[in-house]
């Protein structure tokens, strides 16, 4: 492609963006809103996924002992666990220790424990670490069958719940994305159609003097891509501040929540949104051009 040609394309793009300023504005707005919603879902799904996989990869099993267990039996259980295959370490947690930890975890809300007075409802337990995550399930099953063990818990329940949630969010998010993408495509292709219509004489002449389809198509494609790109930028900027604000809020109240760090995560999201905007723009303009090129 010649430099003159590129210059011509760029001129055409800005001329028509200016000519259809309201439709251009509406298109960019729709792209921005759609991509923003898409981005929110992306962030949610990725974060919950991450949380789930973090929990899943935890190699720790909490073994709660029966309340009335004798010390001999307790020690015996500890030794039995240690002898099992794939066990990394076994650590005893007394009832006092458990209460102290709970108090720490509650932090500001420690006063809740005051209601218990001197009573301590927490059972004795062992913290068992296995050598690799895939051993957790079998080890936990075996331990829970031992005499004197009330239950052996690891992240399974939570992980299962989280996966259920992400699956729902994915389905819902996907449906919403399809809808939004459809709406965006519609409005972009309509905007481009205006441009095409305004320039139909020009297109006809171009065809008569032997311009190739691609030569005719490029300015419109670029127009769509530029609109998608600008929409993507707006969505990305909004999403970045949204995420920053959300992260600040979450760290304030739920300090232990394993949120995706903003960088480089948000950079990937930004790139994804820009690409999505450009692709939608390109497709939108191709749709509206198809009929006019059939001369």
């Amino acid at each position: 492609m010649r430099f003159d040609t590129i210059e011509y394309f760029v001129q055409e793009v800005f001329r028509s963006l200016k000519r259809n300023n309201w439709m251009t504005f509406a298109s960019i707005g729709t792209v921005a809103v759609s991509l923003f919603v898409l981005g929110v879902f992306l962030i949610l799904v990725l974060n919950v996924n991450r949380m789930a996989s973090m929990l899943e990869s935890q190699v720790q099993i909490s073994v709660y002992l029966q309340e009335d267990i004798k010390q001999v039996d307790r020690v015996g259980i500890g030794q039995d666990i240690e002898k099992m295959q794939g066990i990394e370490s076994v650590k005893y947690v007394s009832r006092d220790e458990a209460k102290k930890r709970l108090a720490e975890r509650l932090g500001d809300q420690k006063y809740l424990l005051d209601a218990l007075g001197d009573k301590n409802p927490l059972p004795e337990s062992y913290e068992v670490t296995v050598k690799s995550p895939d051993m957790v399930e079998t080890a936990a099953a075996a331990i829970s069958k031992m005499d004197g063990v009330e239950e052996a818990k690891y992240g399974q329940d939570v992980v299962q719940h989280l996966f259920d949630i992400t699956r729902l969010m994915r389905i819902f998010g996907l449906a919403l994305m399809v809808l939004l993408a459809g709406a965006t495509l519609f409005i972009i292709s309509n905007t481009i159609r205006l441009t095409v219509f305004a320039r139909r004489r020009e297109i006809a002449i171009m065809k008569y003097v032997g311009a190739t389809d691609w030569f005719i198509r490029w300015p419109f494609m670029l127009e769509g891509i530029v609109m998608g790109f600008i929409g993507g930028i707006i969505a990305a900027v909004a999403l970045r501040s949204f995420y920053a604000a959300m992260a600040a809020k979450i760290y304030d109240t739920l300090a232990f929540f394993p949120l995706m760090p903003q960088y480089p995560f948000m950079n990937y999201i930004t790139v994804a949104l820009l690409l999505a905007g450009m692709v939608i723009g390109a497709i939108g303009s191709t749709i509206s051009l198809k009929r006019f090129l059939e001369v």
């Binding site: 040609t5 020009e202 002449i205 003097v209 389809d213 005719i216």
Partner: protein, 229 residues
């Protein structure tokens, strides 16, 4: 230049037979008038040369291109060898005379230097060099048609197709236009002109092909219009 064998065109949507087994050969450098009543098939004939319409059957070679078996992708290259002039000029109102003519070269990605040289020289041919900065709205009908002719010949086509080029012009202006076409023809360019202008056809004494109801009813060298006006 044009080789037409048994060309028929039947429009799918209403079954109209626009051309019925037409055989025409036109050699390089000829000047041919295409005459006949409205709706006789002249427009279809011209559209087919440009491959706006495909024949339903038959064989058609235009300027060395097999129009019938041509893939869509090659159509622009067929058209680069042809220049077209319409009755309604079809200039772009927001471009100057110069830009309108240069546009035809821009869109086939000619180098800028060549564009400048060629546009200036065709504007000389049509006598509009001084008005290169005017917009179409500032020109008379005849001048606008001269711009359209300049645009049609700026890429040095082997064949110029003109569809009623003098249809909107008064007789004097029409002769100016015909004069330009004749000069273009003298330089070796083949010209095919559909027209209803009896005076012009009768005075020019060129080859005349008459089409009626999709048939060639007359094909004479140095012919006349032959219809009552």
């Amino acid at each position: 230049m044009i080789h037409m064998r048994n060309i028929s065109k039947i429009y799918d949507d209403n079954g109209t037979i626009a051309l019925d087994h037409v055989n025409i050969d036109i050699e390089k450098g000829e000047f041919v008038f295409l005459v006949g009543p409205s709706g006789a098939g002249k427009s279809t004939f011209i559209k087919m040369l440009l491959r706006e319409e495909l024949p339903s059957s038959g064989e058609l070679i235009v300027n060395g291109h097999d129009v019938v078996h041509m893939v869509r992708h090659d159509v622009p290259y067929l058209r680069r060898g042809l220049g077209v002039v319409f009755q309604d000029y079809r200039l772009l109102p927001d471009k100057t005379v110069y830009e309108n003519v240069a546009f035809a070269m821009q869109v086939i990605e000619a180098p800028r230097r060549l564009i400048q040289r060629s546009v200036n020289s065709v504007l000389d041919v049509v006598g509009l060099r001084e008005k290169y900065r005017c917009f179409p709205s500032q020109l008379s009908g005849g001048e606008q048609q001269r711009v359209a002719i300049a645009r049609a010949i700026v890429n040095s086509p082997a064949l110029v197709i003109a569809d009623e080029p003098t249809g909107n012009l008064d007789p004097d202006t029409s002769w100016d236009i015909m004069d330009i076409f004749q000069r273009i023809n003298k330089s070796g360019t083949t010209i095919i002109m559909a027209t209803h202008d009896k005076t012009i056809v009768d005075r020019m004494k060129k080859r005349v092909i008459a089409i009626e109801d999709g048939h060639v009813v007359r094909d004479e060298a140095k012919g006349v219009y032959g219809y009552a006006v």
